[in-house]
Amino acid sequence: MNNKFKFITLAIVSLFFSRLASAEVAPGFNSWDDVTAAADGGQVNVYMWGGSDAINGFVDDFYGVPLKNDYNITLNRVPLKGTVDAVNQVLSEKEAGVTGDNGNIDLIWINGENFWTLKQADLLYGPFAAGLPNSQFVAWDNPAVNLDFGRPVDGMESPWSSAQFHFMYDSARSNYEDMPRNYGFLSKWISDNPGRFTYIRPGKGGFVGTRFVKQIFFELSGGHDQWVGPYNEELYNKWAPKVWALLNSWEADLHRGGETYPTNNADMHALFANGEVDMSFTQSPRGAGPTNSAGTTPPTSRAFAFYNNMIGDFNYWAIPYDAPNKAAALVYANLVLEPTLQAAQVQPANGFCCGWGISTAKVTSSEGVAAIQDAQNNLGDAAEDQGILARALVSDIAAEYQDKIEADWQANVLLK
């Protein structure tokens, strides 16, 4: 009896300790020290959309330099014309039978559809996000973080920054007080100002346009809460006809009579800057700040948000299954969550596009808190009031809605 008891205790205790010991930081790495050691002296190949020289410069300076100096890792930033190009590369590598560490890409700046494409096909390395030391600053319990377009992240990508949909106007042409604060008032504004409004076409490369339309669903149906969770066909079919009816009712008063719509942000900003329409869209907490500094919108541009239903979400870094430098990728993903660097992201002077990837409330170090305060106070006048933005914030919804809305918009609004 005694022996048996001892044996069982021993078994339980050793099981306990072995589980403790094998709690990996990420697949293949037992501790963070292992990670930094493995990454030392190597390279990291970071694939990201390259259309913003400000973002490019930010990555080169704020990550490239510390990576080299503190971790002895060389940053190789690969500018893409679209995230989907990196996804395509991983797909091709899978098709060609690449395995292990023999791929080309270490990290992809990703979210939404692209993320789901790779995740569902088992083309990502992970789960790794929770093992990063700096993940303590990430609000993983917030569905806006742990769900990406309604699908569970499951630690297969780690946050970088955030974005929230709202609007721009030109203070040289319009007044802040006159700007509409919901779709009802927007409809009125459009009929009062024929030809002066348009929106981005929902579709590939135009997810901002899809967001614009999703928000109409929220408003018309009386609330965002019912849309959270899995795709609800009934709910969609109930409200979709009303949404198309609204959009069609605008048609005659839209820019170009609703015959053609801008396909992406760049086209939208161009129409706005060249004086063809009076509003544009932005996703940055600094409102019109980034585009003003880039010179793609007039310097008098400012931001405003509706009082409700402004979709915000996060964007992430993911690691492909065949990444050649997985340890370096982990170091990088951890570095971007560093509170002082996150604060640098938000500082206007650094020119970055987007908002916080971490939850600022979780930062306790005095250095971090100071940097955060400074950034928050510095957002500039091209930004909308952060309080208004925060109160209007709603999360994005299940990915199925995205495809449905894009296809149905094309059929019911564009081709009507």
Binding site: E95, H255, E276
Partner: protein
């Protein structure tokens, strides 16, 4: 004699090897994949499903046939107009006048322009708030960008056509200039002395003489514009969509099976081009026999 044969074979091997392994090798892989044969994902079927889907399935049929129509329209019109523009330019510039060298340079300037840049250039000039629109506004023709016609990113492929005319005219121009130069003035002067007027000289003397080169060049330009990706990717719209753009989109589909469809479409595009080239060869052969 044997030594000669060997010499011929050895000389031809290097370039042939490159083209056969890389080019035709790539096509072969693409063709196999279009038939559904993808060993990497353990698919070993051989069927024409992908072809059927691309052309006739509910999802893609409309996109395919409108795309095909657009492709043919764009290629024919751009080739013809580029040739015409270059021909009249070459004929006119021939007559010596003081800015000849400069105009010569300008007309052939676009030859080395990469298509990518050409496409961007079209946007800069022909968009509704582009350079031409601004000039018109200054002159007073129009009052706002919406008064300017939609010439780029339009559903008739006008922007694409403009881009190809702008670039390919240089190609035609250089060839025409060299042909006209080698022809010399003699034929024309002879015809003129025999009483032929300008139009007759053009129609019955010049045109037949430049036709062969013009025709060869047209085939190259047509084939290229039919299968090229970059210009329609920048200047086209979502619907109707030119076929090479549509083909590339299939590869962005996460479903690896969709790649068969992408390859099938690429093969269809290549086949159409091949058919046209064969027709060209057949036509020139019969022409030679006529002469």
């Amino acid at each position: 004699m044997g030594g000669d044969r060997l010499k011929i074979i050895l000389s031809l091997t290097p370039p042939l090897l490159i083209i056969l392994t890389l080019f035709f090798g790539g096509i072969l892989y693409g063709f196999l994949q279009s038939l559904g044969y993808q060993p990497a994902i353990q698919k070993y079927d051989i069927n024409f499903d992908a072809y059927y889907n691309v052309m006739f399935s509910e999802r893609y049929a409309k996109l395919f046939w409108t795309g095909l129509a657009l492709n043919l329209w764009v290629s024919f019109v751009s080739t013809f107009l580029a040739a015409a523009f270059a021909l009249f330019g070459a004929l006119a510039i021939r007559k010596t006048f003081f800015a000849k060298k400069f105009c010569n340079f300008i007309y052939s300037l676009n030859l080395p322009m990469p298509h990518l840049v050409v496409a961007v250039g079209m946007i800069f000039v022909f968009s509704q708030s582009g350079l031409l629109a601004r000039i018109f506004t200054q002159i007073g023709f129009i009052g706002s960008p919406s008064d300017f016609p939609i010439l780029v990113k339009d559903k008739y492929g006008l922007g694409i056509i403009l881009a190809y005319i702008w670039k390919e005219s240089a190609f035609f121009f250089i060839i025409l200039m060299s042909v006209l130069q080698s022809l010399g003035e003699n034929f024309e002067e002879l015809a003129q002395s025999l009483g032929a007027n300008k139009w007759q000289r053009f129609r019955y003397v010049i045109l037949p003489l430049v036709m062969p080169s013009l025709f060869s060049a047209s085939i190259i330009v047509f084939a290229f514009s039919f299968g090229a990706y970059e210009v329609p990717a920048i200047l086209g719209v979502n619907y109707p969509q030119m076929l090479p753009v549509m083909a590339f989109e299939f590869f962005l589909n996460p479903d690896l099976n969709a790649r068969s469809e992408g390859m099938a479409l690429s093969m269809i595009i290549a086949s159409i081009v091949m058919i046209l080239v064969v027709i060209y060869f057949w036509l020139t052969q019969s022409k030679i026999r006529k002469d």
